[in-house]
Symmetry: C2
Subunit: 195 residues, 2 copies
């Protein structure tokens, strides 16, 4: 898949771009192909890049008291970035790593801003990507807030049905805010009620 096809995909997936805008985006982005477990962003680093995933998957995570907490999963057709660093221009509290050999399109904040200024259709795409993220976060808040461990696990399965095939359970557990041990309990088939 070449860059033009990738950009067409983004344009189709999120919001249509003019051909001028597409070709300028093409000249101001690059394809990266990190292999499994490559760290794209390290904690503490200023990261002004956002990544569109054509193939593969990635996660953002942070270390809280030495523990690895997954905060974001992204798959094909998703964008992922260090949300705080990218939008607030502060050192990233997150690491970002790819969990499979991946094919990504990397775009810098500078170019996102410049293209948003120059092309109102790019500004719109920008707004649509952010809105989608916001709505996903809204769902996630409701899920974490008042669901039991079991409901939260069912919830993530309903959003990403094959997540267990692609993401280690440790990461899934921390993402939904429970321990790996609790997740194990949940996954263990229940005894039928013997009367």
């Amino acid at each position: 898949m070449n860059k033009e096809e990738i950009i067409d995909l983004i344009s189709k997936e999120y919001s249509l771009l003019t051909s001028d805008c597409k070709s300028e985006l093409s000249n101001n982005s690059r394809i990266v192909t990190p292999e499994k477990n490559t760290i794209l962003v390290k904690e503490g680093q200023f990261s002004d890049k956002t990544f569109f995933i054509i193939k593969g998957c990635a996660r953002a995570y942070y270390l809280k008291d030495g523990r690895d907490i997954s905060d974001w999963f992204a798959f094909e057709n998703d964008f992922i970035c260090s949300i705080n660093s990218f939008f607030l221009n502060i050192p990233s509290p997150h690491f970002i790593e790819v969990l499979e050999d991946s094919l990504l399109l990397e775009i810098s904040r500078e170019n996102v801003e410049r293209l948003s200024d120059k092309y109102s259709d790019f500004e719109r795409l920008n707004r649509i990507v952010v809105t989608k993220t916001m709505l996903q976060q809204q769902e996630r808040i409701v899920s974490i807030q008042f669901q039991s461990a079991e409901q939260k696990y069912e919830n993530i399965l309903s959003i990403y049905p094959n997540v267990t095939q692609r993401i280690p359970l440790t990461h899934i557990a921390s993402y939904i805010g429970i321990t790996l041990e609790t997740l194990s309990r949940i996954r263990k088939p229940k005894k039928p009620n013997l009367i």
Copy 2:
């Protein structure tokens, strides 16, 4: 405060608007002054309005198994809307009510969309409002995810220092995902360690 001053305030607070855009926004929005405890949006209703708060405060909440769960607080200079209904055009899972006599500017989605199409500076403002919301939600997720009840309470106090003066504790408790009883335990001054 008249409408032009309010719109200047929005423009200054979020992103500058041209005078054409401001006057068109002025002609396509209305001031509302609901008194304390007025419900602006009911569950199940399609709500295509967003409200900018000039004075007062409001909350979005939903009923889960008959219990009232606060999901959003908004104060002066914040926008509040039924996030799902406004952006996805579905029936609102939330109620929205004002918690004090308030002064609000109401804008319809239709006008938000129309103005976004027509004025790239309005599209930008739109994107900036959504981005700000997304970043607040990000903070909230981190807070609910791995903080103890006590830390979550301290966290909301650090974000809204006088929240306890304006919002009943029941709502604060449900917002941070704990029971009112647990919140009481936390607020009760601890016995000093007697040696």
